[in-house]
Symmetry: C2
Subunit: 251 residues, 2 copies
Amino acid sequence: MFAIASQKGGVGKTTTAVNLAACFTFAGKRTLLVDLDPQGNATSGVGISRSERSFLNACLIENLAIATQVREASFSGLAIIPASQELSDLNLHNEIKPRRMKAFQRLFLRLCDDFEYVVIDCPPSTGLLPELAFSVAQSVIVPVQCEYYAMEGLSQILPQVEKVQRELNERLAVGGLLLTMFDYELELSHEVADEVRSHFPKLVYRATIPRDVALAEASSHGQPIVSYDITSRGAWSYICLSKEVLGNDNS
Amino acid sequence: MFAIASQKGGVGKTTTAVNLAACFTFAGKRTLLVDLDPQGNATSGVGISRSERSFLNACLIENLAIATQVREASFSGLAIIPASQELSDLNLHNEIKPRRMKAFQRLFLRLCDDFEYVVIDCPPSTGLLPELAFSVAQSVIVPVQCEYYAMEGLSQILPQVEKVQRELNERLAVGGLLLTMFDYELELSHEVADEVRSHFPKLVYRATIPRDVALAEASSHGQPIVSYDITSRGAWSYICLSKEVLGNDNS
Ligand SMILES: Nc1ncnc2c1ncn2[C@@H]1O[C@H](COP(=O)(O)OP(=O)(O)OP(=O)(O)O)[C@@H](O)[C@H]1O
Ligand SMILES: Nc1ncnc2c1ncn2[C@@H]1O[C@H](COP(=O)(O)OP(=O)(O)OP(=O)(O)O)[C@@H](O)[C@H]1O
Ligand SMILES: [Mg+2]
Ligand SMILES: [Mg+2]
């Protein structure tokens, strides 16, 4: 189970969650995408509309089975638990945080019976929603945009991963740092990529995601890149990433 | 007093807050930048380090005067209240929300005695921190990235502005929508810009911010664009925006 997280905004969390999940499906793995961001960009990125009620409410407060919240995405074989605006309801947060964390973890373990891979998209924050994702994930993938603020973003998300690992979920680990929106013509992109690789030599994925407008266009058509334009550099880079992630998983 | 807000991440909130505040200073107006984002990108964007303790704690819990929290930025004439990681402390949020909203509003009114313009940078969320900014601001500027998800972002921030206007601050209004990261060579940029202008004809600023790597480089040097590279297209576009905003303000 993977969580795609960074509290820095606009670094490619949703684009990575949608396209990595689609590439897993493409490789024949039964995959579920969970949209934990109230904005619901991953939900619309696979051509689905947001739910009225959040699955947190339906499953943790009204005790419905989690299978009732799963929908099929526009991309065949990919399933999704859509987002809801209700996910940002602070009263819901205060209801879940102390009392129902264990129930949330049990709920997600049941998903592992039906799906080989689960990918969770997180909102840009370090609050409860990323914490829920970290409490059930084995691996956190942190997109790092090849621009200046990127390094600062890491100084806040990595400590939160360690805290959840100590207190709630000892299996959790940082799966890797993913360089995104890399523009080969800009010196800044090369500088930031070199800096991130020198600070975290073992953590950076070999696959790098280039800046490619086809990725932005695909999401506006509610499709993953592998179905919108399989010949694009964006599609090729996410296929390479999925092979690398699946390879790490097997070893 | 301006709030720069959008719950969509990476759309150019911080870049707009830093550069608009610097352009106001450049035009001879005594200006204060307030960084309400725990990430502290506006703080490092003007060459300052984050504070240990947040000004919310210092002024609302320990009752220090707000003037004690103001620092001078690297750009002469621009002052800043820096961010602190503590801004994301949920216990602090639960302490402020019911009981100290009025005290927060009084605190900010005192700033109007010392500064002609105040610009507040918000984190990518619709929680308490943007609500605090809206409770004291007269005008909200919403950056809209010229990519697909942009329109979705508006459907969440605009209702929050209306709610705060009804309940806490009747002077609050949407100052305008600012098109950012516009790439003249991409079809997608033109499509999104046309769509936003047709949906909100009276709200979109005439000034459009182009995608310009000089803006990303400037922030990595802790400087506003007008001191990093005044000849760049990014600098010119923010100078045009500041003239338009000051013009609207006078009429
Ligand atoms: N490699 C890329 N090349 C070009 N555009 C990209 C790329 N990756 C993402 N984008 C575009 O950049 C914008 C931000 O990406 P995305 O929404 O995936 O980021 P995010 O981290 O999920 O944002 P948020 O913090 O709001 O959740 C989107 O409009 C997306 O289409
Ligand atoms: N017009 C532009 N041209 C090129 N790069 C830009 C432009 N505006 C912003 N950037 C870069 O894009 C990234 C995102 O911008 P910025 O941090 O201002 O967005 P934000 O909305 O404040 O993000 P967050 O949601 O994390 O607060 C930064 O690395 C910034 O330097
Ligand atoms: Mg996202
Ligand atoms: Mg910002």
